[in-house]
């Protein structure tokens, strides 16, 4: 907000200092006072249509919507008086006259604000005796979106998202009054690259995700903060997993969905659809055991194979998908054993103005800080990380991969690596921000993270270099300070 002048207001008897021009609902939220809302979303322009966020301001006769009111010096605001609670109850009762109440089959149940507010403010039986308004259900909006007009409370967040954020404007509100519904404009389908965010911003279950639809109830999911690996932006995400119950006997799916996490410096509130729907590689087609020429072997046998190559010239192709700690550990290992080091990464892809950047690797900057360059060599042995397609045609190829690929027979040795959701570490994004991703799952099969595999290499080559992630993190920070200082 322009100006930046600090002013003081009083919310519920507490003095709150905020910037001039901030919306009241935001100022209250920053101070830890939550005002219920349906239509207001921080990342969208306020609309003020749901009337849930009304507050009382001293000096005004009627309550005003806090999402449309900028703060003023000396404002005295009350957010939770009996009159306002009564008002919220009425708003909810009005919404619930035409809500289907099919929570048992609604995917949003458990994270639905309508449900939450009902328990917070309403808890009354239905008084409206007429039949519910019948509206279109199961409308496919393209890509992974499915719309249920009966559940919709017409907050217009989706309409505003497509207008304010992506600018594609596929949706509009049609008809009037109780008959209104959100619909696609003629001949349009929602096919932009940020469509998945509509599911997140929908406060009820009107827009649900076909990919997640009916897979799991949300209260069974564990949420782990992480970082999206699919481009150099490093959007903050949450990985939703479930490994409990009878489930793991019958289904191997562990990751159920990816949700964005708010970080205004990096991704705001959104993530792109590539990042949202590309989680399948975590569970499917993983390499579970060390392999030699397409055959399963044990880790001991793999160690023996490694000892056979001692004495040859070796080049290690580190990948831009490794964490800062792993890169610095492997670089150190390579220096000790006089290996050459270079970098492999995914080729550049599409970019747009919102989030996606050209570089499709999470840690290219980290590799740049450590001075690892993309180059090819003609050494007898090459150790390749993550990207088999980059392997030069050498006599001996050793790979450290996460997922299966077509010609695994041509590889002398393949070691199973853990994917990003199965380990802990930091990536440096294209802005130079170091961001942490956390461990959401145990590695599948006999897979290990790249640091442990490095330790395994060190052991096979007869040197002592213990893998200590925290120490490597400190070492990387030293390098980072040198890099950012210069």
């Amino acid at each position: 907000m322009p100006g930046g002048k600090r002013i003081k207001i009083i919310i519920d008897g507490r003095e709150v200092e905020t910037e001039a021009g901030t919306l009241l609902i935001k100022a209250a939220e920053d101070a830890g006072i939550y005002i219920p809302r349906f239509c207001y979303h921080e990342g969208l322009r306020p609309d003020g249509n749901c009337r849930m966020c009304l507050v009382e301001i001293e000096g005004l006769r009627k309550p005003v919507p806090s999402c449309m009111t900028p703060v003023k010096e000396g404002m005295i605001v009350r957010t939770n008086t009996p009159a306002l609670q009564e008002h919220r109850k009425k708003v909810l009762e009005f919404i619930l006259t035409s809500h289907p109440m099919d929570c048992p089959i609604c995917d949003q149940a458990g994270e639905c604000v309508l449900q939450d507010y009902y328990f917070d403010y309403d808890l009354e039986d239905r008084r409206y005796l007429e039949d519910r308004e019948r509206k279109p259900k199961r409308v496919y909006w393209g890509k992974n979106l499915i719309y249920d007009a009966e559940r919709c409370i017409l907050c217009r967040r989706c309409v505003r998202f497509l207008d304010n954020v992506t600018g594609t404007r596929e949706l509009g509100v049609f008809e009037r009054g109780i008959h209104s519904y959100i619909g696609l404009f003629d001949g349009k389908k929602i096919e932009n690259d940020y469509s998945g965010n509509l599911v997140d911003i929908c406060p009820v279950g009107a827009i649900t995700d076909l990919d997640f639809r009916f897979k799991m109830r949300v209260w069974f999911l564990d949420r782990t903060p992480s970082i999206c690996p699919f481009c150099a932006r490093g959007c903050n995400i949450e990985i939703h997993t479930n490994t409990d119950r009878l489930r793991n006997r019958f289904s191997s799916q562990r990751v159920f969905r990816i949700k964005p996490r708010k970080n205004q410096d990096v991704n705001g509130w959104w993530i792109c659809d590539e990042g949202r729907y590309s989680y399948k590689f975590i569970d499917e087609g993983r390499i579970l055991h060390p392999m030699s020429n397409g055959r399963k072997i044990t880790w001991e046998a793999a160690g023996k194979k490694l000892r056979e190559i001692i004495g040859n010239e070796i080049r290690v192709y580190l990948s831009a998908w490794m964490s800062n700690e792993e890169l610095i550990y492997w670089k150190r290992l390579a220096d000790l054993l006089q290996w050459k080091v270079s970098l492999v990464k995914r080729p550049d892809g599409d970019e747009d103005k919102l989030l996606r950047v050209k570089d499709k690797n999470p840690n290219t900057t980290g590799a740049k800080i450590l001075g690892i360059k993309e180059e090819r060599g003609n050494e007898e042995v090459s150790v390749v990380f993550h990207f088999p397609e980059f392997a030069p045609e050498q006599r001996i190829k050793i790979g450290i991969f996460t997922n299966e690929f077509p010609d695994m027979e041509g590889w002398e040795l393949i070691l199973p690596a853990a994917v990003f959701a199965e380990k802990e570490g930091h990536w440096t994004n294209f802005q130079g921000k170091i961001q942490k991703f956390q461990k959401a799952l145990e590695p599948l099969g006999e897979a290990m993270d790249e640091g442990r595999i490095g330790e395994f290499f060190a052991g096979a080559f007869g040197i002592e270099l213990p893998w200590d992630r925290q120490e490597m993190e400190r070492e990387f920070l030293k390098e980072y300070k040198k890099w950012s200082g210069s």
């Binding site: 089959i105 009916f214 897979k215 009878l246 006997r249 019958f250």
Partner: protein, 153 residues
Amino acid sequence: MKLFWEAIKGLGITARHLIVNLWKFSLYYVGLSRDKGVVTVEYPEERRETFPRVRLRHRLLRREDGRLRCVACFMCATACPAECIYIEAEEDPDHPLEKRPRQFLIDLGKCAYCGFCVEACPEDAIRMDVHIPELAEYERDNLIYDIEKLTKK
């Protein structure tokens, strides 16, 4: 020698039980007493009565049109303290109720027969049967009941 006397004493107790119960049952049999004595129930021809409030194996019910009542809402799986219910939901393309179970498994080996699943069900789709105590199986995996077994009459 002492052991021998102990064995005789034990057999004496056995014989006493036999004779006393035989006597009691004979009196009962000719209608002179109401005390039946201790008599073995001759299962399977004869069964002990189960109490009316006992609830045992689960049943999945169907609607009039033959569709399972279950809408795969996972309420039973949520309520289950033994975590023995596994549901896989799928889209029901033709029915106005959009959701149905593709798979519904109850592991009776884990089940505590607490009846919380019946309480939790919003559709009255799951109930527990009475008077059928025979749930034994030779393999633990046979105790995992699927939709077919749970709906069988």
